[in-house]
Every structure is written in structure tokens, then in C-alpha cells.
């Protein structure tokens, strides 16, 4: 997969740092931040530009904090 096809936006204040998304991501895009959110959790963030937009992270997230983006398909002529 080419780089940067997808992206994940984390709703940081809502993330509890459970790391289920980090473990589930097949391209090792996600990691827990060294920073903490308002609740004191090391929240999830994109660590690499390797996201394919597969959405497996959001499938595992118990707190629905992830919005997943994927490159628009080029329109057929």
C-alpha cells in the first residue's frame, strides 16, 4: 500500500489509552502518545504515515474516538 492513503483523527479528550487500536492496526500506524489528555491517559495518535484507512482500529475502539479517512477513489470516466 502506498503511504498516506488513509488517516485517523483521534478525539483526544475521549481516548482512554486502552491501546486496543494500537495492537489491532495491521500497519503499525498508531501508538500511544507520550503526552496525556485531560483525564491523564496516554492517548492514541498516528505515529507513522502508513495508514491505509482500513478502519480496523475503529472496529476495536470501545469509546468511538476514532474518525477514519481514506483517499477518495478517482472517478471513473
Amino acid at each position: 500500500m502506498a503511504k498516506g492513503l488513509g488517516a485517523v483523527v483521534v478525539d483526544i479528550p475521549r481516548c482512554k489509552g486502552c491501546s486496543l487500536c494500537v495492537a489491532a492496526c495491521p500497519t503499525k500506524t498508531l501508538a500511544l502518545s507520550r503526552n496525556i489528555n485531560q483525564k491523564g491517559f496516554n492517548y492514541a495518535e498516528m505515529a507513522e504515515d502508513t495508514c491505509t484507512g482500513c478502519g480496523i482500529c475503529s472496529t476495536m475502539c470501545p469509546d468511538a474516538v476514532l474518525t477514519v479517512y481514506r483517499a477518495k477513489k478517482p472517478k471513473a470516466e
Binding site: 498516506g4 483523527v9 486502552c18 486496543l20 498516528m46 484507512g53 478502519g55 475502539c61 469509546d63 477514519v68
Partner: protein
């Protein structure tokens, strides 16, 4: 710091379902209750039934489910969710009515209400979260606690002296009023997808009024199992699923 990624030329393929409120849940990090809530909310969104769905919240960790679902909700006394759902559905047959209950609620104190609602074949969807423990009250033994499992009330591990863990799906399946019974899990992504498909079917079944749909979700309780979220999801594979096999038990 994470990396900055441009969203230009990209479209949203997943976002938080509308049928969840903006509230941050009080569930512990990694708890399957959140995943189960999310799946129900996704289904409600997909079926477009936010205005016609009524949920019944239990007593247990999910007692505040009414704060988390952006749906009409009713809180039931401990174990009585199926009885309350019976009334709701009989009075408002055009609504989608579901209960959301833990194992202490559904199989322990509410065992009677659950069995009789199923035996009457109430046209409701029962969502049963089996995490093999009483989460809310601090990790006491539940009817579904495994043999050998340590809890605060079975500190040396459960023995058969306290009875064997109840397999609710298998029990419920024998009742003629029941139409659909499936046991799913939410510890891996493929299983979460399967769980969603099962819940979707269980909700859609209400359109046909052919009896009760019962979905057992094998879930984790990292806090009271005293494990990390990842280790608890692995324990579902290693210990829970061998005793609580996944699959469809009945589909009529």
C-alpha cells in the same frame, strides 16, 4: 507528538455513530461494554430507527447506558430488564425494544425474568454481556464465572460447590418462544464485525414478530480480571471461548 497528516482528498469511512450521546462513558479503558454500545448505536443509525427504538438499561456497570445511548431509555430494577421490555413492547409494538444486561443482572438476579420473557417469546432483542464477573460491585463471582476463576467472593477459584457456570445461550435455545440465539465476542476485529451482524439481525427480527432474539456477547472486564485490556482480550480466547463456544444456536 504524533505526525501531522493531511486530510485533503480523503473521505470519512468511519465516524462516531449518531445514536451515541457526546458523554464520555465511565467504563474502564478497554472495556467491552463500550464496544457493545458502539455496535448497537451503529445498527440504530444504519436502520434509521433512532426515533423508534427503546432500550432498557440494567443494574451493573451499564446502569448509565441511558446517558450514553441517544435513544429513549428506561432503567429497570436489578434483573428486571426483560420484564420491563415486555411491557414496553406490548404497549408499543411498533417500537424496537432491546434490553442490555450483564451476567449478574440477566443470569443471576434476573434469571427468572429472562427465562420467562424468552419462554413467552416476547418480540424483543436481548443483549447479554457475559464478562464472567460482577463488574460494578467490585468483581464478585457471577453465574458465568468459570471454574477455577478467582473473584473477590471465590478467592481460591470457583468450584462446582457454587454450581457450574451457566451457558445462557444453550439454556435459552430450548425454549420454543425463542427465534434467534447467537453467541459472539468483541475481542478481535473480525469478531466485532460478526457481533455487529448478529445484533443487526436480532434487531431486524422484530419487524417480523416471530419471537425473542438473544445475543450473548462474550466480553472482558479488565479491571476486575486484574489484567490489561490486551491481556483480557487474550483471556477471552484462552479461557472464555473454550467454555462459551461462539456461534448460532438457533435461527428460525
Amino acid at each position: 507528538m504524533g505526525i501531522e497528516v493531511s486530510l485533503e482528498g480523503k473521505e470519512i469511512v468511519y465516524k462516531r455513530p449518531k445514536a451515541l450521546t457526546d458523554a464520555v462513558t465511565h467504563y474502564c479503558p478497554g472495556c467491552g461494554h463500550g464496544t457493545a454500545h458502539r455496535l448497537i448505536a451503529e445498527i440504530v443509525d444504519e436502520l434509521g430507527i433512532q426515533g423508534t427504538t427503546v432500550g432498557v438499561a440494567p443494574v451493573g456497570c451499564s446502569v448509565f447506558a441511558y446517558n450514553y445511548f441517544d435513544l429513549d431509555m428506561q432503567q429497570a430494577a436489578h434483573g428486571r430488564a426483560c420484564a420491563v421490555a415486555t411491557a414496553l413492547k406490548r404497549l408499543m409494538p411498533d417500537k424496537y425494544v432491546f434490553t442490555y444486561q450483564g451476567d449478574g443482572d440477566l443470569a443471576g438476579i434476573g434469571g427468572n425474568e429472562t427465562l420467562h420473557a424468552c419462554n413467552r417469546g416476547e418480540n424483543i432483542t436481548i443483549v447479554f454481556i457475559n464478562n464472567a464477573i460482577y463488574g460494578m460491585t467490585g468483581g464478585q463471582m457471577a453465574p458465568t464465572t468459570l471454574i477455577g476463576q478467582k473473584t473477590t467472593t471465590s478467592p481460591y477459584g470457583r468450584t462446582t460447590n457454587e454450581g457450574n457456570p451457566i451457558r445462557m445461550c444453550e439454556l435459552i435455545t430450548t425454549l420454543p418462544g425463542v427465534r434467534y440465539v447467537e453467541r459472539v465476542a468483541v475481542n478481535t476485529a473480525p469478531r466485532v464485525r460478526k457481533a455487529k451482524a448478529a445484533l443487526l439481525k436480532a434487531f431486524k427480527n422484530q419487524q417480523e414478530n416471530k419471537g425473542t432474539s438473544f445475543i450473548e456477547i462474550v466480553s472482558n472486564c479488565p479491571s476486575n480480571w486484574k489484567m490489561t485490556p490486551l491481556a483480557s482480550n487474550k483471556w477471552i480466547d484462552d479461557a472464555m471461548i473454550p467454555y462459551f463456544p461462539l456461534g448460532v444456536f438457533k435461527d428460525q
